[in-house]
């Protein structure tokens, strides 16, 4: 399996505790906190993908010769 696929999968996995702890910090009750995790997880991954996209664009414009 290619390195990029493995590292992406590892990032997806590491995003789980980040999102769960964010949900617990924001919601005092367990029920609403747990129910909000799928939405938060999606938003987090999309936001990270957007940041990665911007970085790749900047690299393509300014770094490549």
């Amino acid at each position: 399996m290619s390195s990029i696929v493995i590292h992406t999968a590892l990032f997806f996995a590491l995003a789980v505790p980040i999102v769960v702890m964010g949900a617990f910090y924001s919601e005092v009750e367990d029920g609403p906190a747990l129910r909000s995790i799928p939405r938060r997880y999606g938003v987090f991954l999309l936001a990270c993908a957007a940041v990665a996209g911007v970085m790749l664009l900047l690299e393509a414009w300014f770094v490549s010769s």
Partner: protein, 273 residues
Amino acid sequence: MVETAHRRGDPNVAVLLTWFLPGSGQVYLGRWVPGLLAFLLVEGLYALGWFLSDGRTFEFLDPELRGAMATILTPEAGNLGGLIAQMRYVGFGLDEPAPFPNTVALGGILTALSGVANLFLMVHVHLEARTPPAAPHAGKNPALLVACAWLVPGLGHFLEGRRLRGTIVFALLVGFFLAGTLMAEGSNLSRERHFYYWSGQFLLGLPAIATEILSGRPPVTGPLPYGDVGLLYACMPGLLNVMAMLDVYGFAERRWLGAELPAAADLHGEVPV
């Protein structure tokens, strides 16, 4: 905020005093014996760590990283007086290369432990300063619960009666730390090798400390294909445990001060009168 007339003292002054000199915040609040005991405990840990490491813990930092702010991201910064004294008298260690004492790693753990213990003391004096002397308390002491949340991730939630949350926190944080340690093949457990990552994972408490001591800090014997990812996996749970500790504190403080539990969105906001 609790009204000024009902406070024992200014909480910010109590915290700043404690930060520079452990126990002095409690003395400022008129509690001499607990203040003296806190001073002996926190500074005793730092002094023992300094003795065992020969004051050379910060020599682990690469020379190009050594500077005035280099130590601010270490656990020792929680005991600012001790850290300043160490930097004043021994700085970043010896100028000439020399073997470290055998107990340097243990000494580093103890000085770090002193800084973390003083953070809990700062939490305690801040709350104590805001609590009217005769006010009734409910629930367990928030500072104690935060210390438990650091010691074993999830334990603070568990002691608050939030067992599902505590179990999830423990499983996620300790699980990812162990996964990271396996991927890094234990290289993350050496403060000498990864000074700042070690500081991050120290916030995970006993699981990180016990793993380091029990593993004997295994040497790196070959390439680590997932070493960098392992470092992240091991360090991130320590940083996330800070969020868990804040969650534990917010919940416990409202019980302690007798405030009604708020709507979820307000939990981490201002404490009502």
